[in-house]
């Protein structure tokens, strides 16, 4: 390295230039499709439009106040949070159940592990079509009328997500279980711990970081739900299953862009707070193994 000492400054400069070149494609795309639109969202919310989207009129934060305290946004937010409530605990519990059941030495266990992961082969759209067919009130396989019931429509839709998330939840929890040292379980067994106590006292604390990760993933999935709503319930009946993203999608026309932008900022804030809160609140209680 000694012979490089003299041109150190030049090589430093060359390295910076190279870094700029390597980072440029990502930076340009991020600027154009992530940061610029985010800035646009925040600014758009400050303007009201006429029907053509021309003639913007600056209205300051009043539109934010109107939209965020309005019934439409509140309904969307409530439905999105309901969707979180329906899908996340179910995903955690079912994923853990499947993973615990399939985490053992048995002949043919790989077959069961493949079946339990199989729903990752479905997209949201594919899962939605299957549940549209299962739940439809006229020809539905399950012979239920949930999609026409204001109180049950969103729950019906959420079944598709619960099912579709099974594979991912199973894979993630199983990966967590595989990190629990066998010796620890054997020692606990020798100490007279039964299987239930072993699970709650040893396994669960050790896999809690994995469950936290899964929680964050599932919450974000739930807050982003769109295709499920569009394909299964079309937001109905009478808007009772319109989530935030569904409402944002409906606000594409120029005259509604301001309102839609404020809703999108609202969605961003909710996602941000939820993600942050999960890290901060659970961080202390979660056991991070060495």
């Amino acid at each position: 390295m000694a012979e490089r000492e003299t041109p150190a400054r030049a090589s430093r400069l060359a390295e910076t230039g190279m870094a700029a070149l390597f980072l440029a494609p990502s930076i340009i795309l991020f600027a154009l499709f992530f940061f610029y639109p985010f800035e646009q969202l925040v600014l758009r919310g400050l303007y009201r439009n006429n029907a053509q989207g021309t003639n913007l009129r600056y209205v300051g934060w009043s539109q934010y106040k109107d939209v965020l305290t309005g019934d439409d946004f509140r309904a969307g937010l409530v439905h999105s949070l309901q969707y979180v409530l329906y899908t996340v605990p179910a995903g955690l519990i079912l994923g853990t159940l499947l993973a615990v059941a399939a985490h053992r030495k048995l002949r043919g266990i790989r077959i069961f592990q493949t079946i339990f992961s199989s729903t990752v082969a479905t997209s949201v759209a594919v899962a939605s079509v299957l549940f549209y067919v299962l739940l439809n009130s006229q020809t539905g396989v399950l012979k239920v009328d949930w999609l026409n019931d204001p109180n049950l429509a969103l729950f019906g839709v959420s079944l598709s997500s619960i099912w579709q998330n099974l594979g991912l939840s199973f894979i993630i929890v199983l990966a967590g279980l595989q990190t629990v040292p066998t010796e620890l379980m054997e020692a606990a067994t020798l100490d007279g711990y039964g299987p239930v106590r072993r699970f709650f006292r040893i396994t669960l604390p050790l896999i809690s970081p994995v469950l936290l990760f899964l929680t964050v993933v599932l919450v974000i999935f739930a807050l982003q739900a769109f295709a499920q709503i569009e394909l299964i319930s079309r937001g109905g009946p009478a808007g009772h299953s319109e989530t935030l993203v569904y409402k944002i999608f409906q606000h594409q026309t120029p005259d509604q862009l301001g309102v839609g932008s404020v809703m999108a900022v609202g969605l961003f804030v909710v996602t941000f707070i939820v993600t942050l809160a999960q890290f901060l609140l659970l961080d202390r209680r979660v056991h991070y193994g060495d």
Binding site: P25, A101, T139, I172
Partner: protein, 300 residues
């Protein structure tokens, strides 16, 4: 922003070495094994139930399936032509082709941009590195659901509605890929870089001859999950495709098959066709998929 860049990507978990499944106590093992098999088979049937019920519905003649007393677990007056009809009615081969083009563009683009960016973050010294890295990770907080409306505006201005570039370009850079591949590069022993430097390899040749080949497992699992995510996309193509006859991807084409409940059988058949490429991918690359999906959850 209140949190460290590193924490935006959930890669914070440090875990012990992988362990085998817990051994069964030998004296009770026979009875226990039977019990576990019963449970595992029961759970398998539950997981597969939605597919089975809808497949039976797809194979049945619609009128026969809804007759009173017809069991939903069995097919009625089987008609195999339903797949053919779904493909024709939804124009699914063309839609599948478009999905493939968009997916390959997105995955290929993501690989190029994130390998280059990851290399800069892992091996090059430059000012404001931490700040730039934090900004990269901050994009994870701006999913397309949030940026949808202004991005549609941009794409309309570029006249990219109903086009491959409109569907693919906004997704060609990725913080997740950059993060994962950077982690892979950082795992390459520094002796290798030092030795190749003495041999006269510059950054460019070191990147392609050593760093990328040595990080192949990480890049492979990222490629597979990137492909999966791009193929399964719904919201963005739904928004930028206004000419659905000529530009629908296969996920969007499914929407046109669910307009009338009477043709549920065709909708299911279409959904199963749409899932086939991913089932193939899953069979061929199950290890990479598992590694990719758990990359953020478990280190090891």
């Amino acid at each position: 922003m209140g949190i460290e860049a590193e924490e935006l990507v959930p890669g914070v978990v440090v875990a012990g070495p992988r362990s085998e499944a817990p051994p069964e106590a030998p004296n009770r093992s026979w009875l226990a094994a039977v019990g576990w098999y019963v449970l595992l088979i029961g759970l398998s049937l539950l997981v597969l139930l939605p597919v089975w019920l809808t497949l039976m519905r797809a194979l049945s003649t619609p009128a026969a399936a809804v007759k009173p007393g017809a069991s939903p677990f069995l097919p009625h007056e089987v008609q195999w032509g339903v797949f053919r009809r779904a493909i024709d009615q939804g124009n699914l081969w063309a839609a599948l082709g478009r999905s493939m083009v968009v997916t390959i563009l997105i995955t290929g683009g993501q690989l190029v941009t994130s390998v280059l960016a990851a290399y800069a973050f892992a091996y090059l010294r430059f000012p404001f590195k931490r700040v730039i890295f934090a900004l990269f990770m901050a994009t994870l907080l701006l999913p397309i659901e949030v940026t949808l409306l202004p991005n549609l505006h941009t794409v309309r201005d570029l006249d990219w509605f109903n086009s491959y570039q409109g569907m693919a370009v906004p997704f060609m850079a990725t913080a997740l890929g950059t993060f994962l591949i950077r982690q892979g590069f950082l795992g390459v022993p520094s002796e290798i870089r030092d030795a190749t430097r003495l041999e006269g390899y510059g950054h460019w040749s070191y990147l392609w001859k050593f760093a990328v080949p040595l990080t192949r497992p990480v890049i492979a699992s990222f490629t597979v999950i990137s492909f999966l995510a791009a193929y399964n996309q719904y919201l963005w193509p739904r928004a930028v495709v206004t000419d659905s006859n000529n530009w629908s991807t296969i996920q969007i084409a499914l929407r046109d098959l669910t307009t009338t409940p009477e043709t549920s059988n065709i909708a299911v058949a279409g959904a199963l066709v749409a899932a086939i490429p991913i089932v193939v991918l899953l069979i061929l690359f199950s290890r990479q998929i598992v590694q990719g999906l758990t990359a953020g959850a478990v280190k090891g």
